[in-house]
């Protein structure tokens, strides 16, 4: 039995009320950016001031919301009706984060410029293993720890991060202390330690997006094990792009066994006023069989997801793709399901 049944909070109640930092990962292309954005909207609809950030320099948020590329600066991206909160967006890049960091802690001034001239900024941010990641998560840490009393600094009730894919998430969050092995002392190391403390705390939840296919589900399981092994808090599993559930088990069984009652079907189709030539009827049956096969695959993968011991949340595959309206729909489903 999965956690989703064990906990079974009443529908519409958020399952992660104490979480401030939501990290969204998953296999490439399963919908991390989409889910992160929908989650941010859902959290804002609950009255929270939300920051949605991305860290891979892809401008996925801007593309999704159809706005110009985001700078290294928090921008209002969605404002709901009265009573709901606002959603801001930020594209974090390591270069800007490094220069900001140096300025904040060392007032480096001239040396900062020199670093740039000698290729050190480029080096530290694109190459030096681990340093880049600490800079990116460090910026998120900074945003998560702002004080309401600081003048001008915006306090965020929730931060949603569109994170790197499952294959790199543990390393990104510094689970195996790769950086520690490399940089054993020094401020980057202590910065990494501070960030790790936040990441391992109950203020954080790492959600994994998957689709009901073999490789993504496998990766999700491996990812959860790795994260948990590293002491990081796993949140929910978001099952994305679920096929329509129009046919019940019995109907699918008949389709798979190819013993559909054609007479009955033709009769109903006539009632529906659609043509009932044999070609069309066979085509519909063929599509149904294809769908039933796909559902069989999804069902077997769903069983595996349910054994992962994390609550799961399903999102439908939107046939027309994800536009703003579609994003609102997905956000609603997440709020209903309790992820937000």
């Amino acid at each position: 039995m999965s956690a989703q049944h064990n906990e079974s909070p009443s529908p519409g109640q958020p399952h992660f009320p104490g979480v401030q930092l939501h990290i969204v990962t998953g296999k490439g292309g399963t919908g991390k950016t989409t889910v992160a954005a929908a989650l941010a909207l859902a959290l804002a609809s609950r009255g929270k001031t939300v920051l949605l950030c991305e860290v891979e320099g892809r401008q996925g948020i801007a593309q999704l919301f159809d706005v110009p590329p985001l700078p290294y600066e928090e921008r209002l991206i969605a404002r709901g009706p009265a009573g709901s909160g606002d959603a801001y967006a930020l594209a974090i890049d390591a270069e800007s984060a490094l220069l900001e960091y140096l300025d904040m802690y060392y007032r480096l001034g001239r040396a900062g410029k020199a670093l740039d001239r000698f290729g050190v900024v480029e080096f530290a941010t694109t190459i030096a293993p681990g340093v880049r990641d600490v800079l990116l998560t460090g910026k998120v840490y900074e945003a998560a720890n702002r004080n309401r009393r600081n003048k001008g600094a915006r306090h965020y009730d929730a931060i949603v991060m569109d994170a790197p894919p499952t294959g790199r998430i543990a390393q990104f969050l510094n689970v195996n202390n790769e950086l520690a092995g490399l940089a054993k002392v020094g401020p980057i190391k202590s910065q990494a330690d501070t960030v790790t403390t936040l990441l391992r705390s109950p203020r954080t939840a790492i959600h994994l997006v998957t689709v009901l296919e073999e490789m993504p589900v496998q990766e999700t399981g491996d990812g959860i094990a790795e994260l948990r092994g590293g002491g990081l808090p796993v949140g929910g599993v978001v099952v994305n792009m679920v096929r329509p559930q129009d046919l019940d088990a019995d109907e699918r069984k008949h389709l798979l066994e190819d013993d559909v009652d054609r007479g009955e079907l033709v009769h109903r189709l006539e009632q529906a006023g659609v043509p009932t030539d044999e070609l069309l009827v066979e085509a519909l049956v063929e599509e149904g069989r294809h769908h039933a096969e796909r559902r069989r695959l999804e069902d077997s993968q769903r069983e595996l997801v349910e054994m992962l011991d994390a609550p799961s949340y399903e999102l439908p595959r939107l046939p027309g793709g994800v536009d703003m309206a579609g994003l609102y729909e997905l956000a609603e489903a997440l709020a209903q399901g309790g992820l937000a």
């Binding site: 040396a111 290729g119 490399l182 490789m215 069309l280 519909l284 599509e287 046939p319």
Partner: protein, 415 residues
């Protein structure tokens, strides 16, 4: 032969910054169809590289092509990068040992054969170091913490090592005659361009300004040092600590003499990719991101004078019949519903049909858009099977569908 590749600046990494390449005005010729079997049977093609952004089916497509070529009589080796576990098992390559092994169950009737291997990136890197340096020096490098970090986690190492391995296989193939076709899968990068750019990125890192700077004190006269150097080292020490700097210096000093060799190898492979013996296949899903990446890649190949064979649109949705529109199907559903027949097989099938047509229409629109701006790129459309592809039969099915393109129109058909 074309000019050798020039060092690329960081801005060159994405062709987003370069001019759009296209027909300028749309033509209304039907899209060119990719003749996969002609490609596989063309003995002058010795290398097929499958590129595309992550998750689109590069590994599946490259394995299917390799199997089909082998069963059509070619002596094939396929270099896969990250196969799904079950696929790796059924190809007999779950052991990550960097050596091509015969794939069990391949039909040898046409006189061909199929070997497969899975890339071990760290091992490949280690082997290059070992082949370039004295045993003692190699040890020094392999044990350096900085080397270990770079060789196992530097973004781009996998791409670099895939190219390196391709170069090795090609040499091996030509020397031994063991293979006459190499099919290469590429790493699951977010951008297909990474495959072409990674070697350059790694090179410019290892040969970069900063690395040079680290070498200066080891080499000599203080006058070479610029005034800012002390300041810079201080700042770096502050940030990452003295130990890392020390490891890096040791690594750079040891690696310095190898570097020329590394660069040369990368250059040779790059030239190999421009050779007429090579063909690139770009794989994309019928999704905006994947097709955009495919477009960048196609434009970039042209810029680099690299031979493009065509585009494979993988996992396309298909509707078995187009005569009933999605609107008509939904009208039918409404009718049944108001007659109190709101559930049942007919309603379910009509709804599914409507949903499916919306997906198919959207995918066709996206694919057509690509074809309009790249009218000269032959395209194959590969339907999504309802199950994963995890054994030789599955690969054969994909291969058959790829081979059957010529018989069909460019309309989506199948499964």
């Amino acid at each position: 032969m074309n000019a050798p590749p020039s060092p690329r600046s960081a801005t060159h990494r994405s062709s987003r910054a370069t001019a759009r390449v296209g027909p300028l005005i749309a033509t209304h010729d039907p899209a060119l169809v990719l003749d996969v079997d002609a490609l596989l049977d063309d003995r002058s093609r010795a290398i097929i590289v499958c590129c595309g952004s992550g998750g689109v089916g590069k590994t599946t497509t490259s394995a299917s092509l390799a199997l089909r070529a082998a069963e059509r009589g070619r002596k094939v080796v396929v270099l896969t990068i990250d196969p799904a576990r079950r696929l790796a098992q059924s190809m007999g390559i779950e052991a990550l040992d960097n050596t091509p092994r015969p794939v069990p169950g391949v039909d040898p009737a046409a006189g061909g054969s199929l070997d497969a291997m899975m890339l071990d990136m760290k091992r490949t890197f280690d082997e290059v170091v070992q082949s370039q340096a004295s045993p003692e020096k190699a040890r020094q490098i392999l044990d350096n913490p900085f080397y270990i970090a770079v060789s196992s986690s530097f973004a781009g190492t996998q791409e670099y090592m895939a190219m390196e391995k391709l170069g090795q296989l090609d040499q091996d193939a030509r020397a031994s005659g063991r293979w006459d076709l190499i099919v290469v899968d590429t790493p699951p990068s977010r951008s297909a361009l990474d495959f072409l750019d990674a070697p350059e990125r790694l090179s410019s890192f290892l040969d970069g300004r900063f690395m040079k700077l680290l070498l200066v004190p080891a080499r000599g006269p203080a006058r070479l040092m610029t005034a800012g150097f002390g300041m810079v080292t201080n700042a770096i020490t502050k940030i990452i600590g003295a130990q890392v700097l020390q490891d890096m210096k040791a690594f750079v000093a040891a690696f310095d003499t190898l570097f020329g060799g590394f660069r040369q190898r990368a250059q040779r492979t790059f030239e190999l990719l421009q050779d007429r013996r090579t063909a690139f296949l770009v794989i994309a899903a019928p999704e905006p991101d994947a097709l955009r990446e495919a477009a960048y890649f196609v434009e970039r190949l042209r810029e680099e004078s690299m031979p493009l064979a065509g585009l494979v649109v993988n996992r396309a949705s298909s509707a078995a019949d187009g005569s009933l529109s999605s609107h008509a199907a939904m009208t039918g559903v409404e009718k049944l519903r108001s007659a109190g027949q709101g559930d049942g097989l007919a309603v379910g099938l009509l709804r599914l049909h409507a949903d499916r047509l919306v997906v198919v229409e959207r995918e066709k629109r996206l694919t057509r858009r690509f074809a309009t701006s790249h009218p000269d790129v032959p395209t194959a459309v590969l339907p999504a099977l309802s199950t994963d592809v995890h054994d030789l039969d599955g690969l054969r099915r994909i291969g058959d569908l790829l081979g059957a393109q010529m018989g069909h129109s460019s309309d989506q058909q199948g499964a």
